[in-house]
Subunit: 104 residues, 2 copies
Amino acid sequence: MTDNLTLELRRGAIVLAVLSQLEKEQYGYSLIKLLADRGMEIDQGTIYPLLRRLEANGLLLSEWRVEGPRPRRYYRASPAGKATLEALGNEWKRLVEVMEGLMS
Amino acid sequence: MTDNLTLELRRGAIVLAVLSQLEKEQYGYSLIKLLADRGMEIDQGTIYPLLRRLEANGLLLSEWRVEGPRPRRYYRASPAGKATLEALGNEWKRLVEVMEGLMS
């Protein structure tokens, strides 16, 4: 049960974590590595569907580019994505404050 | 989309918020009020199923008691619930730190 609850706890923050790193463009693997280096481990099976979902909702822009041995799809936040990042970031700060009050 | 994402953001924290307030027993309405007073608005349609789910998983204990005009079901954290509260609380603190790093 605790494992599930821990996953639930992180799930909501994952969108915010992803958006926060896409003001500069990244491809899937570089994004996973960037997040992991900063303490947020998210596996491929979560990241790729999430990137597609955020793009389908207009929050990300993407393009294929060939630079290495094979094409990579690069993602970056759209203007709507940047606005969502700001709105969610504010919600997050509010939530952190509320939780601090509840847990103290 | 932003509304859904905001809901997702809060969803994971709700279990932790609820557990944090059940070291002393509460009935549904008193819990909703307590949380709302501290800035966490959770509606009945969320709280009641969550209380039943947490009890089914052994994290809460409950008993019916008649004190007012009708019986009320009082909930409190079980020993397993208190252990989960501590574990999730630690996960939360870690998540808050990671997100702070990502968003700065």
